[in-house]
């Protein structure tokens, strides 16, 4: 399992061609208290960089982009009743959706944890 990050503050855990996506701890801190999350349903096709989910906090509503292209296999239903999971455990139980990668080479442009940390420190 390898974890990558995007400059739009999504993380993606990859295991072969299956992956799990969520938003980073930095992102949830910037958004503040999350009040609503809309995740894609199984079967949805997502495109790298395209809209995949919506996250709404007391301050703002934001799109969450797909870090890579693929087919969604599961949306995190727990976020429906408990969106606060994204605040309390953004990089664990607060995951957004799982997908099957259609082109693993798209991972090449993403950051590893050290690079993302440096990126956030520079913001």
């Amino acid at each position: 399992m390898t974890r990558y990050f995007t400059d739009e503050h999504e993380w993606i855990d990859v295991d072969g061609t299956s992956a799990t996506v969520g938003i980073t701890d930095y992102a949830q801190g910037q958004l503040g208290d999350i009040v609503f999350v809309e995740v894609p349903t199984a079967g949805t096709q997502v495109k790298k960089g395209g809209d995949a989910a919506v996250v709404e906090s007391v301050k703002a509503a934001s799109d969450v982009y797909a870090p890579v292209s693929g087919t969604v296999t599961e949306g995190n239903g727990a976020l429906d009743g408990d969106p606060a999971l994204v605040n309390s455990d953004p990089e664990g139980d607060g995951w957004f959706f799982k997908l099957t990668l259609s082109d693993p080479s798209e991972l090449d442009g993403l950051m590893d944890e050290a690079a993302y940390k440096a990126y956030v420190n520079g913001l």
Partner: protein
């Protein structure tokens, strides 16, 4: 310095514990008021109504068998209930209303006098046209001045608010593109746009793409130009933009958009900053809504309704929606149908059942005529002067992200930079309530961290601005020093800080009987 030293507010006096309270929960003239469902007995009515005679039901057992559950109050109880609630409200007639992007300016009383004239107030949309010629003349004359002030070709008067006007403008763009057989798919919107802009484009069936801003807070012209192509139907720009800055590259931007075969929509919410000084038509804009309830001083913020006429360029004018007023000699016609022979027949449809917000037309025309050309020019100048006075009076205690790049337009923008650890824009807003002000717009525009957007408008005096600046300076200093009392503000409002997160996560949108409310927990 302590402002408000005379202290009319019922702050609990020294030596009186807060828990002492009163029997009623009232604090002298600050009255506690229950919800209307919690007062009255459900039986009382303001008028005597004879008991209905027995009715044979035809609902086959589906008829309601429980009380309908509406409140029952006498007339004086009803009047007092709403009057008491109104005293807990904040309004432009009570004090400065610094909401950025909302233009909460004074509503002149002359407007109200004109709007209440019987010939305007007591007419009906279906009245015979020959009996309402004066009203149609008002619509026609207001349309003339809106077209003149904006340097455009035509105006669609009927849209009933800013967002409705946006939809009208985008539908006109779509109609123009479809008329030349060139349906396109995408609308470009800057990052700092009002949320209604992308919502409008999406509602009209377009994909929405963001255009980034420059470090100066303006649209990135190079990025915009690079994105233009045969799929782009239009660009929605706000000028002056929501960072309170004039888009200096507007003419180049319009030229690039037109060269790509697309149209320029301008969100005219901030027209009050440039009215009488800049004509949007000269900037290459194809469609722009005008918030009569902002620039032209008609009431809003609960006192509305809004009104959002849309001015259109020569290219879009033929597609303006029905109905519209046309003058033939001394007669004013309300054109509700077009034929290809008579009037091109290109109108894209209707935005409203009737002609629009008549009560706002009379007020807006009264405002335009009572100010005159020189007065409207001064409106824009004073709006900008007041905003810059606020910006420069506070930029030593609050971070002004675009303060170094020159003057702002009609609104001053600050960020939460420099506040003590753990202190936020929300804390400053809540403390302003204690100071007796409606808070400024916060967390918008999104491109600025912890944004505080303040629009004083031209109708505030220097003395009023000085008091507000003093209050905000005091609150900002407390936020920089980390005063813990700020975290629990407001302290003097009828209610303390509300749990906005819980309210958003588990909204209770209708009143429930107390026992049901408990069961739902």
């Amino acid at each position: 310095m302590t402002i408000n030293a005379s202290g009319w507010r019922p702050e609990v006096g020294a030596g009186v514990a807060e828990s002492a309270g009163t029997y009623t929960g009232n604090r002298a003239l600050m009255l506690e008021e229950a919800l209307i469902f919690e007062i009255g007995d459900g039986e009382t009515t303001g008028v005597d109504i004879a008991a209905p005679s027995a009715v044979k039901s035809r609902l086959a057992g589906l008829e309601r068998n429980r009380p309908i559950g509406i409140p029952g109050l006498s007339e004086p109880e009803t009047v007092r209930h709403y009057t008491r609630l109104s005293r807990q409200n904040y309004a432009i007639d009570l004090g400065l209303f610094p909401l950025g992007s909302c233009t909460m300016k004074h509503n002149p009383r002359l407007n109200e006098k004109i709007a209440r004239m019987k010939g305007f107030a007591d007419i009906h949309p279906l009245a015979p046209r020959e009996t309402v010629q004066g009203a149609l003349a008002v619509i026609h004359e207001l349309a003339h001045w809106l077209v003149t002030l904006t340097g455009m070709k035509a105006v669609a008067m009927s849209p009933k608010a800013g967002a409705h006007g946006e939809l009208c403008g985008i539908l006109a763009i779509r109609a123009a593109l479809e008329a030349r057989g060139d349906a396109r798919s995408t609308i470009l919107v800057p990052e700092s746009a009002h949320g209604t802009n992308p919502a409008t484009a999406a509602f009209a069936g377009y994909a929405v793409e963001n255009i980034p801003a420059t470090a100066e807070g303006r649209v990135d012209l190079a990025a915009l130009t690079a994105r233009l192509g045969p799929d782009v139907a239009g660009v929605m720009i706000t000028n002056p933009n929501t960072c309170g800055l004039f888009e200096r590259d507007m003419k180049a931007l319009s030229a690039a958009v037109h060269a790509a075969g697309a149209f320029v929509y301008c969100d005219g919410a901030n027209f009050n900053a440039i009215v009488g000084r800049v004509r949007p038509g000269d900037l290459g804009i194809d469609a722009m809504h005008i918030n009569l309830h902002k620039t032209f001083s008609t009431p809003h913020g609960g006192g509305g309704p809004g009104s959002g006429p849309v001015v259109l360029s020569e290219a879009l004018a033929p597609f303006a929606p029905l109905p519209y007023v046309e003058r033939q000699g001394d007669t004013f016609l309300l054109i509700e149908e077009e034929t290809v022979d008579e009037r091109q027949g290109k109108a894209f449809g209707r935005m409203t059942a009737f002609h629009g917000q008549m009560g706002m037309y009379t007020r807006a025309l009264a405002y335009i005529l009572s100010h005159g050309a020189d007065g409207l020019r001064q409106v824009a100048e004073d709006a900008v002067l007041n905003a810059n006075y606020v910006l420069r009076s506070l930029d030593d205690v609050l971070d002004a992200p675009f303060g170094q790049t020159g003057p702002c337009m009609h609104e001053a923008l600050f960020s939460d930079g420099g506040l003590a650890e753990g202190f936020t824009t929300l804390d400053i807003a809540k403390a302003l309530i204690d100071e007796g002000y409606h808070p400024m717009t916060m967390y918008f525009p999104l491109v600025v961290h912890g944004a505080m957007l303040i629009e004083p408008t031209e109708t505030e005096s220097k003395a009023t601005l000085d008091q507000f600046i003093g209050a905000l300076r005091s609150v900002a200093m407390r936020a920089k020093q980390g005063d813990p009392l700020l975290k629990s503000a407001p302290h003097y409002a009828p209610r303390r800080r509300l749990d906005e997160t819980l309210a958003a996560r588990k909204p209770v949108l209708v009143w429930k009987e107390p026992e049901e409310a408990v069961a739902a927990e």
